[in-house]
Symmetry: C2
Subunit: 223 residues, 2 copies
């Protein structure tokens, strides 16, 4: 299981230090929630935040960029230049999804596709052999701190079956409302990359390292 | 003359520290360039960067937010909640500019309006009595590090005349390509708020404090 802390929940005023706290605690991925204020209501940040994290990528950290933007194809080159490892686009934002996925790979990134909670898995049917990552949104994208939508567990299980059926080794990532008390459920359903924001970076009760350790403990208990 | 360093040119990985270096050197304003990847090609950052700068606002720093976004009215409440002091909108993005300016003020912020380089000053004719700030773009918005468009000096001079003619005390701000070697020219033309990005935050040759001092020296020499 890969934990991908979402820097949207980190302290943007001291981003490098806060992100590094997660990496020092053993995190191999960082998840970067890009929002344009159009595909979703809020504007978060763009390529220069990815660029700011290059010292961590140089140490081997995977920069996992989730593009909650309209016409993501207009932004892919900027994210590739900024040093994104993975670019994930929404099927709802991509009428030419195959072309967009090819562009991501041509630019030297791994290609992810993602679905809003109400978008059915059948939308992945044709593109699945071409992707490196499938992201199941377990909340509606656009804000941190939302509650896990329960039927997401079944959606993860069905996505896992689709990937296995074609022999795909693509990552199956889940994002939204995952905490130590429900992470075992989504991992058992077949997810192998877990995005967590406030559950990692909120330090009001525990440090970042302790928050990450709580996820590990939750999975040991299940195993 | 007020210098408003643009945090777009600051190191986003250590934003608070870099912004504080400018404040410690005497800066009273910080300029925040919000881009949505639609009105301009690039996505920069949104309200949570304004929120991250609240410790500086609490010390009296003015957070001067320039919204290079389509439909800025959809984002104004988020920026007010995040703690923006001033919100400046593009006349090109606001078919209902008077309504948008009223909304900014109703939300407790000061209202600015701005024009792209090719947009004529006559577009301000009706709205001028209602605004707290006029921003003259002396480069095309959307990226840092561009060269000052020479005819901007005449545009500033004419904007100053328009403000004086109605007895307005609105700030006259200029943004784009301003360096110590041309700041005296735009101040002489009537600008009293100067946005500078890389000329302040680029520390390859001089520190932030030395960069700010260079602007001060340039104005002393003129006076």
């Amino acid at each position: 299981m890969i934990l991908a802390p979402s820097i949207l929940a980190a302290d943007i005023a001291r981003l490098e230090a806060h992100a590094r706290a997660a990496v020092d605690a053993g995190t191999k991925w960082l998840h970067i929630d890009v929002m344009d204020g159009h595909f979703v209501p809020v504007i978060t940040f763009g390529p220069h935040v990815v660029e700011a994290l290059q010292p961590l990528r140089a140490e081997g950290v995977v920069l996992d960029v989730h593009l909650m933007v309209e016409q993501p194809e207009r932004h892919l080159e900027a994210f590739a230049r900024a040093g994104a490892s993975i670019a994930t686009v929404h099927v709802e934002a991509c009428p030419h999804l195959h072309r967009t996925v090819e562009l991501i790979k041509d630019l030297g990134m791994q290609a992810g596709v993602t679905l809003n909670p109400a978008t059915p898995l059948v939308m992945l049917e044709e593109i699945l052999p071409d992707v490196d990552l499938v992201l199941i949104m377990s909340v509606n994208p656009g804000a941190g701190g939302q509650a896990f939508i329960p039927q997401s567990t079944s959606k993860i299980r069905r996505a896992r079956r689709m990937l296995n059926a074609i022999g795909s080794h693509a990552y199956l990532e889940v994002d939204g409302g995952i905490k130590p008390d429900n992470v075992a459920e989504v991992v058992a359903a077949g997810a192998n990359v877990i995005v967590a924001g406030s559950a990692v970076f909120d330090e009001r009760e525990r440090s970042v390292a302790e928050n990450i350790e709580a996820f590990r403990q939750a999975l040991y208990l299940q195993a």
